[in-house]
Amino acid sequence: MITFNFEAIGTSWSIDVLDSLSKKSEQELLRKIGKRIEVFDQTYSRFRKDSLVMEMSQKKGNYQLPPDAMPLLTLYQQLYQLTDGAVTPLIGDVLSQAGYDAEYSLTPRTLHHPDRWEAVLAYTTPTLRIKKHALLDFGAAGKGYLTDIIGELMQKHGVQNFCIDASGDILYKNKAHTPLRIGLEHPENPKQAIAVAQITGGSLCGSAGNRRKWNGFHHIINPHTLTSPTNIAAIWVTAKTALLADALTTCLFFTNPEKLQKYFDFDYVILNADYTLKKSQDFPGEFFYN
């Protein structure tokens, strides 16, 4: 087994390759992963000047998106409807105004409600029409989606057993279904866990407002209230793909799980700010109570 550790898209990654590969094949795989992340980042990042997202923010018009855009855009479109506009790629401008910008100014300016999806975007695969200036943000699902993409790349490379940990967003494939024990981090004490989740495959993603926070904001801002939710301390979701698990952690800050369960197959834990829990009956984990 070998583990690749590196920094990418603004966070740290740890990839366990559970199959044995030749040294040459390992190096080749790592190189492919690095290259794929670079392509993804250059398309979807709002933190780099040379990205497609940045280009779109400066010029209206029709953009041909790469083939990998379809699952991402389609899910965003669906979640926009299901959350009454709370989950939207148009949050990019709001996050930037709040200070979570390419320079990490962390200095809030005046915040403006984002436009409605229809007013700015029209998506017909593979074309995204930008009708009005907008800085798009794919932070709600982008990291999870990239995790899936790397997983697929690894499988194509012949690796069937692996664990990709994109700083807490995890994708696990194991033919033997050996359980993976994941501590759910205590939002106020990174040395503690409030539970141990066990998955035998698929994805577990988490979202909490404790690390990227500044001036009363964290990485999730409600476009209707222009504030960051404070009633929830952390959310974890298990699902088949990291794209879905990651996206749903953000959705659950705004929408009740019962509604989302009508459309998606997932389990969840919502840790309220008062440390009470709401979770789905089948969430695979052991929780610690007083």
Binding site: K191, C205, N210, D274, Y275, Y289, N290
Partner: protein, 176 residues
């Protein structure tokens, strides 16, 4: 302890309508126990030796608590260890309803709480079921190095640039 009481109240805020009555009852029961538990804790902290506790916990007038049905008889002070069941009465828009609440106490600490649906009217039944399913006690942290873990999931580690920016802002705030 104040924090715990506050947070229990927060639970009731998040519910609406007839749920408030239900939650109100739970809050009374839970806060009653918490308050008492706090008294015990303070006492234990202040005086290492266990002292005789004569004061009885105040019982909310609306509930009728039964004697412990299970559990040992260890009595540090006040409440005995065991499972306590209380029946709560409240008035829903449709009329009088009942709700069962079970608390398990071990060494002065509430370890399990169950809510039993007793309602007869369909709406009340739905509301009580919803509440029973979602009512959970508070979780606590365990040290990660004492658990056998493969991975940890929380919020994403922040990039260096972000952390630097936060430090800069903190430094500025100290100067002004």
């Amino acid at each position: 302890m104040e924090e715990q009481q506050q947070s229990t109240t927060q639970v009731s805020k998040s519910k609406s309508g007839p749920m408030v009555a239900i939650v109100g009852l739970i809050v009374i029961v839970v806060v009653g126990v918490f308050a008492y538990q706090n008294m015990n804790k303070q006492q234990t902290q202040n005086t290492p030796a266990v002292t005789e506790q004569t004061q009885q916990p105040t019982q909310p007038s609306q509930e009728t608590a039964t004697q412990p049905t299970t559990g040992g008889a260890t009595q540090a002070a006040g409440y005995k260890d065991g499972t306590y069941t209380a029946l709560g009465n409240y008035t829903s828009p449709g009329g009088a309803e009942e709700l069962g609440v079970t608390l398990t106490i071990a060494e002065g600490v509430v370890t399990v709480s169950e809510v039993e649906v007793k309602a007869t009217r369909p709406i009340s039944k739905t509301r009580q079921t919803d509440f029973a399913e979602n009512y959970e006690s508070q979780v606590v942290g365990k040290n990660i190095d004492e658990l056998t873990l493969t991975k940890v999931s929380g919020s994403s580690l922040s990039p260096k640039g972000f952390n630097d920016a936060v430090e800069k802002i903190k430094a500025q705030a100290q100067q002004t």
